[in-house]
Amino acid sequence: MSVASAVAEQVLNGLVVGMVYVLLAAGLSIIFGVMDVINFAHGELFALGAYFAFAIAGPLGGAGFWVALVVAPLLVGVVGMGIERLTVKRLYGRDPLYHILLTFGLVLIINDLITSVWGKSAQPFPIPAVLDQPVALFGFNYSLYNYGIIIFGSILALGTWLLLNRTRFGMIIRAGSEDREMVRNLGINIDRYYTLTFGLGAALAGVAGIVLGAYQNVSPTMGSSVIIPAFVIVVLGGLGSFRGAVVGGLFVGVVQTLARTYTPFLEGLIVFLLMIVVLVVRPKGLFGTNIGAGEHHDGALLHGAGGGVLSSATRAKLGYAAVGVLVLVPFFAELTGVTYSVTLLEDILIWALFALSLDLVLGYAGLVSLGHTLFYGVGAYASVLTLMHFSPSVFVALAVAVVVCAVIAWSVGYLSIRVSGVFFAMITLAFAELFYNAVFKFDFTGGSDGLFGVDVFYGLAGLGIDPREFEIPLGIMTIDGGMVQYYFLLAVVVGSYLLARRLIRAPFGSVLQAIRESEERASFIGYDVTAYKRRAFVVSGGLAGLAGGLFAANNGYVAPSFLHWINSGEVIVMTVLGGMGTLYGPMIGAGVFVAAEDILSSYIEQWQLVIGVLFVLFVIFVPRGLVSLPQTITEHSMFESAVGDRTSVKDAEVERHD
């Protein structure tokens, strides 16, 4: 085959994948443009489309594919409408962050449902025989099915565009995205249109899933592997821009495919590099115009609950009690032989520190960092590399982790904090994915295996404790290296909490709170808002790096999964679950989440489903987190719920911050 036809084939392959992206991104973009909802569950709806088709086509044989191609997207559309009605709808008017959280919960639910029905392994989904043959066009052979995808995708995209721009339906939802109240005042039931729009987006995702499923195969991970590129496309093209979704989708599909063939090193990196460059040069994306869309929320409920009914003295006592219990646990574990509980607590402490770090930016500076695991992962890699190559001292390793992460946070912050809101979220996500993909590429990071087998030394310059040799007999028990590790961790986490508390009570923290309340006002009393956010991000990045470094040092390994976006999602879940905008809330959230995950996963196979459902209920009904529960309960008994939720939220904001 000549070079030209080889390139042409790769470009065609790119267009095939690109068309799938177009359908996905168009749905995402419409849903965002009309309802300001960032739908993380879009990838799962995509997978659902593939599986529905797989289930329909299988038993029917021959013509099954064609039936499935019509029926499965409709089913996904119905599922989408159901999701909108039951969950998304309840959150309109709240900060877009809550939609990210909600749909993240939906990801867990749908994904677990898929695996429990269809199993964990990938399955082949044969394309109809009539399409499964090569055709010769322009002098070379190429799969008819692939041509089919390109043509079918184009027709569908064009149809969607016509629907949005040339019909009454399109006119109403576009008007609704400009001014919802106005449309409602015209006597139009805009809610119904929102439901339909969500259904439309879901159905488009379903079609994309079927098309790709038959092109490759169907697997439960197919959703999570396309969602991030789909986001990149939507951001590249401009949030809410249909044209941007089409151009971005095809472009990313082609670039990705060509990179895979011709510059394998850049595969997986190039798309994120592109996105970062585009956003730095054109923060609104290539075709973005309505940058205001996601920005003018009053941030309702974004921040946490604060003290609630407990006085600060009571909280201090509870804090001391918690630390006291944590100090005693290893002794009981030793005596009872349940050493497992110490391991679980170590996990909890590390995630608590990670959640605390996120809360400084999310809860205090109002910055939604969707890629916070970047710092967790880089901290882990930095400390393991330090331990392997420079010093066995855990102190040195952790210091390196903190410094490296703070420097990266400064750079990322420098590039992205001037780009506000939703875009900041996307850029942080892109940076995290960039690093995630990068660690696979290098030898010094151990590629896909990661790095393991490091030992730590709790000291400096030869003076200190080697946990492998440390043992002090103490009556009926021994203090061993494991305990040293545990107490060191406990001390670092408690110390970090105290440091964070001082920061928040210092002038620095008071300005962060001012920024969270009103950025504009903070700037017009003389504060450099961008600089403050950047500083908060640096502190936060450093602490997240410390958490990652601690985990790596304790467990003696690091792997690419440390940088996987699911961690970023989980840490946000913990922070919100506990109650952001308080420092202890997210730590409690981390404890509950990690413990629940641990316990559930040992009893139920569908634990992700349970966690997902609980989380969705939480986002809808207890948006201010666990720490607001005592207060909510008190208020309900006081007002007999007659006053309604609105007022209780208002009153709750009276006392806050710590």
């Binding site: 504009e520 006002r521 700037s523 009393i525 003389g526 504060y527």
Partner: protein, 254 residues
């Protein structure tokens, strides 16, 4: 030579083909109460935004206390003593009254903090900030209400807090953006009294479209029309200017 505090030279702002502010030369004297008026679309708000730093001019300069501040972002201008109030009350509603004022007071002496003070000392431990906060609360009639949360205050009290925050930034000059927009005659009077009571020793520039109000309170008035200065002078001079009558009353004999 008079003592000029704020001066603009050939200040121009274009939005595409629309020239919102066209070659405006302002010269505001220290201690003056100046008003900038004009019918809707005259370019008042754009001029205001050019002065505060929310917008950058297409051409021309803004000079404050002899320094060219045209390229400075808003917070730098505030630091140099150019404060502003908001049309729609914009306070930190989740915080207490005292914290609202204290934050502004803290900003006013912000350069003086060492990193340790900035990041580790308790925010309430700075005597000079606390004293300044107390003084401002007293002067704006909010003493004793410091512990109230800002978001449950009555509308009039929020306006009071709004002015107090401006005062706490220690401005030499305050830009007031239609402080009485949407108010009843009664509310307008009490707001203007409050401004007079609290800010009378500062240079003031009031952006306003209510011509009667402006006539009552201003030392001098600048009339904007279609982005250009139409007339300037004392209230008497301006009210007798036939061009102003033409622009405001559209040729109707008054």
């Amino acid at each position: 030579m008079t003592d000029t505090i704020l001066e603009t030279q050939n200040l121009t702002k274009e939005f595409g083909k629309l020239v919102a502010v066209d070659d405006v030369n302002l010269d505001i004297e220290r201690g003056e109460f100046r008003s900038l008026i004009g019918p809707n679309g005259a370019g008042k708000t754009t001029t205001f935004n050019l002065l505060t730093g929310a917008l950058r001019p297409t051409r021309g300069t803004v000079t404050f206390n002899g320094e060219d501040v045209s390229a400075l972002p808003p917070h730098q201008r505030v630091r140099r003593g150019l404060g502003r109030s908001f049309q729609i009350t914009n306070v930190f509603s989740g915080l207490t009254v005292r914290e609202n004022v204290r934050l502004a007071a803290q900003a006013a002496r912000h350069e003086g903090f060492t990193p340790v003070e900035e990041f580790l000392d308790n925010k309430d431990s700075f005597d000079d900030v606390n004293e300044h906060t107390d003084r401002v609360l007293e002067r704006s009639g909010l003493l004793g209400r410091g512990d109230e949360p800002a978001d449950v205050m009555a509308y009039g009290d929020k306006r009071r807090l709004e002015i107090a925050i401006v005062l706490a930034t220690d401005p030499e000059m305050v830009l007031l953006d239609e402080p009485t927009a949407g108010m009843s005659a009664e509310e307008t009077r009490s707001t203007m009294d409050l401004i007079d009571e609290v800010l009378s020793d500062r240079t003031l520039l009031l952006i306003e479209h209510d011509i009667d109000l402006v006539m009552r309170v201003s030392d001098r008035i600048t009339v904007l029309h279609r982005g250009e200065i139409l007339s300037e002078g004392t209230p008497e001079e301006v009210s007798e200017d036939p061009e102003v009558r033409e622009a405001y009353f559209g040729g109707v004999e008054a």
